[in-house]
């Protein structure tokens, strides 16, 4: 079991944002978590990242109890996150952004080579010396994803990766994720965009009121009466929740 969550709970004031959630995923899987605003998926995500401390419960990653681990310790174990905001350092050059992800492993001439390779992979070689904020929005998204991938993570956490993307870019991102999965990276995506979630077509978990509500394939989820009522409205299916 790559990731095992047991009885995870978090309270804010009088509200149980995450209520006794148990969940797991295996290596080599791609999983998706969806749910309306306030369902607790963001809080759950932040607890996986290490930004929020749970009130109760445990998180095990690669058989190690990481419940008390700082975000950087989790990153070093291979639990890598690409946040909802771009995750790119606008003030630093594109080159330095990538170097930042690679320099804990490589150094010297080898580091230069790795950075150059990554720049080529992302098609950003020409803009290497630019400040990252000078890139277009789409390029920044790519850079952000590239940075997350560059560290060869064991499990990649993506928080709404297609936010602000066009339909075209959304589908390309879904493809990219499927490619990564084939190459062996395990991925957990928290998303809103139904088009993206459908394109991914992986086992999906629905959160509601801080609890795991339903789990299954996209087809099963969409068939579920209650899910339909909660998200999709009684009438026609909407693009996003």
């Amino acid at each position: 079991m790559l990731l095992e969550v047991n009885g995870l709970t978090k309270r804010f004031g009088g509200v149980r944002a995450v209520d006794d959630v148990s969940w797991q995923m295996d290596a080599g899987q791609v999983r998706c978590i969806i749910g309306p605003n306030g369902a607790g998926k963001s809080t759950f995500f932040q607890m996986l990242v290490g930004r929020i401390k749970p009130d109760a419960g445990t998180i095990r990653f690669r058989d190690i109890d990481i419940t008390r681990h700082h975000p950087f310790e989790r990153a070093r174990l291979g639990l890598v996150v690409k946040p909802q905001t771009l995750g790119v350092f606008g003030e630093l050059t594109v080159e330095h952004n990538i170097q930042l992800c690679l320099q804990r492993v490589w150094r010297g001439a080898e580091l230069d080579r790795q950075v150059a390779d990554e720049l080529d992979r992302l098609g950003l070689r020409a803009k290497a010396r630019f400040a990252a904020k000078a890139l277009s929005h789409g390029e920044m998204q790519w850079l952000g994803l590239g940075m997350a991938i560059a560290t060869a993570p064991k499990l990649m956490l993506l928080d709404e990766p297609t936010a602000g993307m066009s339909s075209d870019e959304t589908l390309r991102t879904a493809d990219l994720i499927k490619q990564l999965a084939t190459a062996g990276t395990s991925i957990l995506v928290v998303e809103h965009d139904m088009e993206f979630v459908r394109a991914l077509a992986v086992e999906t978990t629905v959160f509601h009121d801080g609890r795991v509500f339903e789990s299954g394939t996209m087809a099963e989820i969409e068939q579920n009466e209650t899910v339909r009522r909660l998200y999709l409205g009684q009438r026609a299916v909407q693009k996003s929740i």
């Binding site: 309270r11 004031g13 009088g14 509200v15 149980r16 306030g38 009121d209």
Partner: protein, 297 residues
Amino acid sequence: MLELFIFLYQFADAFALLTLSAAGLMIIFGMMGVINMAHGELMMIGAFGAARGFQAGLPLPLAILAGGLAATLVGLILERLVVRHFYGRLLYSLVATWGLSLILSQGALIVLGPSTQGIESNFGNFLVGDLSFSIYRIVLFGIAVGVIAGLWALFRFTTFGLQARATMSNADMAKALGIDTARIYMLTFGLGAFLAGTAGALFSLAAPVQPSFGASYTPIAFVVVVVAGSRNIIVGLTLAVVMLALVKTAVTINLNILGGYVAMLVMALLVIRFSPNGVADWLQKARSLIKKPSTGR
């Protein structure tokens, strides 16, 4: 019994010192997140204004008011000219107001001279047992309590207070609702300056009035503000002042004045270490832990 009275008296004295020193700074910090490094100089201007006013023949309360108004005027000028450019850029606001503080304190040295005659006004003492206590200190305590109560009432019951609270909570939203946030900031800064100047004027009866007047009160004000945090002005200020006054009084009585100050600093550092947003924030978190959890919705 006498010891209790001494403790209460000293506590009241510390309470007054801390509250009056910090109130003006706290208002500005709570509203804009700006720590006005020229706060001490505004107090100094209040002290000078009151002293000069008194020398010119004004009765004491008016002299104090004159000091407060002088500081308000200077404060508003500083806000319009300099401070308002830095509301979104807090680190720069520290640096800019620090520059202003240097200009004001050194400028005062040049323009007003090294010192001026303070206000001679004896409120007299009262006796408890063999010991004599200053009535003025009690008056200051009363004023301090009045300031807190007054500020609470201001925020609670007036239009300005409502608009101010809205702006503090969510400035963009407040603007969208038609509140002139720039004006709120200006008025808040003016209020902060007024409180600083009045405090300086009040203290001028007890301390020599010189350009470095503010320097004795600035660190105290900073300590209070840092402990209070910006989450909730009234709660933060009151709680911080009570905590610090208790510590200061307890240590001063058992050790000495210096120990009292050191103890206050140590307490401030410990508070900030474990509650980085100040006590008001910590209180809010503590309350949320105690509240019975529900599943929401």
